[in-house]
């Protein structure tokens, strides 16, 4: 007999894995890993906001992460400090303000589960949030795929062919914001980036086209999340790190496999 919370965790996990795998390809292609990490750090402030205002923590995360991305783009335009400096300042100040706010709250908060993920934390409302958010991200990617890919290959070429670069940059950041907001409960804030980049990096070695890379990446992410959640249940380990360990094993296996087959060719 499978407990309802396990079914919820599996549905949520698979939903998250599919979108994280696809968006993760753009994170790898556009070198946005540090951006994703910073976004996830700032999400803790979103959790605090959600609790203080009495709204859902997912919504709080979407709000804070969107503000984070907007402030970053605005500061980038100023061109006074390098992007990684700006990211470091924004991410850690948001994380710290979030931590301080959480510790001032009267209700007790399980910080550990926010940082490293907890499958027990997923409730029915969040399932809908994940499925709706995931559906939105996938539909959006599907209809704008060529534009996103062309812009990723060369921005000047895309611009000359009539693609609005700034708009699409904002959209990719918005999509990442949604991924962070829907997945932090299961994967944990500190580990979201790995769910974005490890399956995509593994898929790169198997795929011959951007579309196939996205599909393989999603499949590998689903595999990692599913195995990770079950091992988390049976070994009583935190879910986020369990998922990352599985995805790392998959990555290493594929790397060795692809190294050996390339050598034989």
């Amino acid at each position: 007999m499978i407990e309802p919370f396990i079914i919820r965790a599996i549905i949520a996990g698979v939903g998250i894995a599919i979108i994280a795998g696809a968006i993760g390809c753009f994170v790898v292609w556009r070198k946005m890993a540090y951006f994703g990490d910073s976004l996830a750090h700032s999400a803790l402030l979103g959790v605090a906001l959600g609790l203080v205002m009495g709204i859902s923590t997912n919504l709080g995360t979407v709000i804070i992460c969107s503000i984070f991305a907007s402030v970053l783009i605005w500061l980038q335009q100023k061109k006074i400090l390098a992007t990684d400096t700006l990211l470091g300042i924004l991410a850690h100040s948001a994380l710290s303000v979030g931590m301080v706010t959480l510790s001032l709250l009267e209700q007790s908060v399980d910080l550990h589960s926010y940082l490293f993920g907890d499958i027990l934390a997923v409730n029915s409302a969040e399932i809908y949030f994940i499925l709706f958010g995931g559906f939105f991200v996938l539909i959006f990617l599907y209809f704008n795929w060529s534009s996103f890919v062309l812009m990723t290959i060369d921005e000047k070429l895309a611009k000359a062919e009539g693609i609005n670069i700034v708009l699409y940059q904002l959209l990719i950041m918005l999509l990442m914001t949604i991924v962070v907001a829907v997945s932090f409960k299961i994967v944990g804030l500190l580990l979201i980036t790995s769910l974005l980049i490890i399956p995509a990096a593994a898929a790169r070695q198997l795929a011959k086209s951007p579309e196939k890379m996205a599909i393989i990446s999603s499949l590998l992410a689903v595999l990692s999340v599913a195995i990770g959640i079950f091992s988390s249940l049976y070994l009583d380990t935190p879910s986020g790190p369990s998922i990352v360990v599985v995805s790392t094993i998959i990555f290493i296996t594929i790397s060795i496999f692809s190294f050996l087959t390339n050598k034989n060719n």
Binding site: C25, V28, W29, I153, G162, K208, S209, K212, M213
Partner: protein, 242 residues
Amino acid sequence: MTSLIQAKDLCVTRHNKTILENVFIDVKKKDFITIIGPNGAGKSVFLECLMGSFIPDSGNVKRKDNLSVGYIPQNFSPESSMPISVERFLTLKKKFTPQELLNISKETNISKILDKNLANLSGGELQKVLLARSLLNNPELLILDEPAQNLDIKNQLNFYNLLNKIYKIRDISILMVSHDLHMVMSSTRKVVCLYHHVCCSGEPQTVAKDPEFISLFGDDMAKMMSVYQHTHNHSHQEILND
């Protein structure tokens, strides 16, 4: 003759610096115009204004109705993190028949590399692929931003020969930014010298002899020009290293 693009009085100022000042151009049917000028002269911004992807502060750009333009960007170097074949890259956001793809692949000598990964191509191959992609909509005007910048001398020659062949065969106009003075000056096309404003324009040989040209373009250009004028007994090394 009909104008494809006519630009007048283009002005662009950014961060209190003048980038373009009263720049003008008239690109007609079957023109082959090369824009030359030192780095930071506003050449790329000028091209973007002509294509409509950059709005100048003042001035106007008149394009012929339904003008189709092919474009080759500067410094094209795709990342190896994305697996994408040459053929898939060509078809991204482009509509054409398999026959057109076949013809253009032959015309630009890329039939053999269609299955290759874009990131694994050499510089010369990449430029040919970009040329093929820009020709897919059967453009009336080809705009190239320093197309041979990262190529060695042999590949530069190959690329310019290919471009000349396309210019002769097709009913096409070409507008190009180039630093390759030895290539530009050895032919008899129209040259426009740009340094925030149009310094001079006309036949390459006339422009090269213009003493005003050297004084207007400062030391950098004067040096490059003097190298050009002695190309018959000196090497091209200085230009290549520039």
